[in-house]
Symmetry: C2
Subunit: 491 residues, 2 copies
């Protein structure tokens, strides 16, 4: 092929994917390290599953579609099996819990963090690869396991930098909702579609408001764009029962529980749910987690169909400005609940499990909004190159600085234009430039240029406050490391 | 569908993939954290690219095959574009360097670590997803950049736990080899195939020995299985020149350089390569990296075709026993070199780059062989459940221990069989079991069972050495945390 025929590839990430640079990587890592430390203290062990799973193994949790490569990134292996990238960390856990059921401790507490992939239409701020950070307990039937996850979630948020008072973990129970549905005449296998619509409607109450939810419980709802969503077809009386559930929250947990007990009437599943909520509240109180951190809130239902008992969600309660400059609550950063049937798909045996997933990017955005991302973005000390024949001398300086634990590098671009070297130092947020030209070399000295101070002086027209601190010093070559240390930390 | 018709999915990782549990995750992370700290000190910034790239962008580096999903895991997006999982961290860097060339500092020093995927036939110990840990400098034409990578590699290995003396970084230069080929009459575009065979033959000298390499330089070689590999077709004189190169290493770097200078004769590319080797050695000496850590070794050529200048490889020099119990050198754990043409594919402009890739699993295996993996595998303190109606009390104890920074958990399985609780504690490597039955609760005490001591006593028939240390103590409930601390650290 002739050169002219070679088309150059585009240097682009695929649509919906992105790269993370510098502080984006280190701030996320620092946050996950803090969360990991909490998970560890709670007795959870790390698990890192492969990114690739068989579609068969992920299968049931996929959106309801015909082709296996809808919703997930999938490909055919050897013209027979389909493989796919994991789309969450829960489905792989269910597979691991089944595959290694004879070797793992039971209960099995594990945490996992890493990227997951969704084959969805990309949009602004919507990416097809993103991080999750999960903790789950498999094989623990007691609601003590759910209470523990809620407490751990509160601790993890505080460890990450969300102050007490700036978040609340809301707890509810699917069984209570099922009891309410029973009272509303929505039990029975033939009502599954209606129950699904009710569940999703309640899950949207923050966004749609009570009127929007009520419309979805009845005939349906037309949104601003004109699209019509079919409702559950409940009559007014049935809708009243369900709406009563969404507004059941009272001043105290005990009052909320009492109200829920009224609502579920004689439904045994409903009463079981209310009892479990009471137990969770008692267990949390015994560990000192009061309603300032964890509250019973019937408004939380979680959209996913597979939850079978307690569900929980962490909401950040402080306000931020949205893209239009309006104040709004930050909202949810984590959620989870009890799912007792995921492992059963593989083994036929029901395995009780409960767990939480933290939205890593959401939590990072929250910490950013609160000014709690304190990553050190200071760049390296730059040893400039005045004379390219003396590279060994400059590399020797860098070696000394590094051996002393100081982040440092030698300028390795074309050294001809000294201005470019200082521009590079600026782009790297370098605190100090080291300069040694022929005169300094002959005199056995080096010049240290304080770039932080230089930038401050440049911003400040009067030099008054800086005049007793020189922006540039010349020191004996032998004092290089000590002089750099003094300039990095003048106090 | 009736229940009987539902086939259960197999709970299995896809062939060639695996999961990492507990200490496997934490030891790798601890090692990478240490290496990262070195990279940081050298002024390198982290970069995390997306796992998914367009096949077009990866394209040129794929093995020579017709279908894009050979060698990589690839799938079709929207029936037009092919996407694929990255198979190394260098190809994505080349894409990033081209895509963000106007924003990134130049030179751009970056490190990256994470999984890569290879669609290869899985075999024993051969996985299709594995970790790499890379550092590269893009935009630095000077061999000072290569010298820096070699020094950083040495420091990274020591930081990870490989002692000085247990490794050596070998440096060579492709230009020297090209000069030798020129002398042997193998220059020119029509000799590219022969040069490739020579390159791969030299790369195998450790495995095949000089005779095997000589056979591959000539007519070819039949291996033990009877398979014939075609040779480069060199005559004896040509082969002598090439073989002279493989044995050019001398006692000192200066002597090796002198011998190489003889071998490349008047080849200008060869002389350039020898000069570069001399410069690298001088730069490293100026930073204190002598031949005990970094040596010039013409035996290192690196198999990859895209290297254009210095190449380097880190070898571990201690012996381990192979699967047949024979002693052998541990061998290579990292390698890299200068590749000046990878970014050019995208932009048309040549961008000088050099970098190294550490084989994370190989290095972990080496640290394991040297007994340098010191991960704490101690499990949590287990609060057992004697009376399930008092879960709140037990959770309260766990809460106190955790608040004091002690890893602890409550047994959350079915508490009926107390033996199962102790078996669980054993499986978790739990140091202490806390027990509070009705009597203790009434007396306001708890029992601490020292499981570490218990295991030691069980191994030791005579109790002499343990008799002054009780394996079980009863303490006031209020002293729980202090007593656990004492038992965890008796000194």
């Amino acid at each position: 092929m002739s050169d002219a025929k070679i088309r150059r590839p585009r240097a682009e990430t695929p649509k919906g994917f992105r790269d993370y640079f510098g502080a984006e990587v280190t701030t996320r890592k620092a946050m996950l390290d803090k969360i990991t430390a909490v998970y560890h203290r709670y007795g959870f062990d790390p698990l890192e599953t492969s990114a690739v799973e068989t579609v068969e193994s992920l299968g049931k949790f996929l959106p309801d579609v015909d082709r296996p490569n809808e919703g997930v990134f999938a490909w055919k292996e050897d013209d027979t099996d389909w493989l796919a990238l994991r789309y969450d960390l829960t489905a792989p856990l269910a597979r691991v819990a089944a595959q290694f059921r004879n070797d793992l401790p039971s209960p099995y507490r594990r945490y996992a963090m890493g990227p997951v992939w969704r084959n969805e239409k990309p949009g602004p701020g919507r990416f097809r690869q993103f991080y999750q950070c999960d903790a789950d307990t498999v094989g623990a039937p007691s609601v003590a396991a759910d209470a523990e996850i809620c407490a751990m979630l509160a601790d993890a948020l505080e460890a990450a930098g969300i102050d007490r008072g700036d978040y609340v973990v809301k707890v509810n129970n699917r069984k209570v909702l099922n009891g309410v549905m029973e009272v509303a005449g929505l039990s029975g296998d033939d009502k599954e579609a209606e129950r699904g619509i009710v569940l999703r409607a309640i899950d949207k109450i923050d966004r749609l408001g009570p009127e929007g939810v009520r419309a979805l419980l009845g005939e349906g709802r037309r949104d601003e764009s004109g699209d019509f969503t079919k409702g559950a077809g409940l009559n007014a009386e049935q809708a009243n029962v369900v709406m009563g559930f969404t507004t059941a929250k009272r001043e105290t947990g005990a009052d909320t529980v009492a109200r829920l007990r009224e609502l579920v009437g004689s439904s045994s599943i409903g009463l079981e749910g209310v009892d479990e909520l009471e137990q969770i509240a008692a267990l949390l109180a015994a560990q000192g987690y009061g309603p300032d951190r964890i509250v019973i809130d019937p408004g939380v239902v979680r959209g996913l169909g597979y939850y079978t008992g307690p569900v929980y969600e962490a909401e950040l309660t402080f306000e931020i400005l949205d893209e239009k400059g309006r104040k709004r609550q930050f909202g949810s950063v984590a959620g989870g609940g009890r799912y007792d049937d995921l492992v059963k798909r593989f083994t036929g045996q029901s395995v009780p499990a409960t767990g939480v997933s933290i939205g890593v990017d959401r939590l990072l955005a929250a910490l950013h909004a609160k000014g709690r991302l304190t990553t050190d973005t200071t760049g390296p000390v730059i040893v400039t190159v005045m004379d390219r024949d003396r590279m060994a001398d400059y590399m020797g300086m860098v070696g000394e600085l590094r051996a002393a634990g100081i982040r440092a590098e030698c300028y390795l671009g074309n050294p001809k234009n000294f201005g470019n070297q200082l521009k590079y130092a600026d782009k790297r947020h370098s605190p100090i430039a080291i300069i040694q030209g022929g005169n300094e070399a002959a005199a056995g000295t080096v010049i240290l240029k304080d770039l932080v101070l230089g930038a401050q002086i440049a911003q400040n027209a009067t030099l008054e406050e800086w005049k007793d601190r020189p922006a540039q010093v010349e020191v004996p070559r032998a004092d290089l490391v000590a002089a750099v240390r003094r300039m990095l930390d003048p106090n």
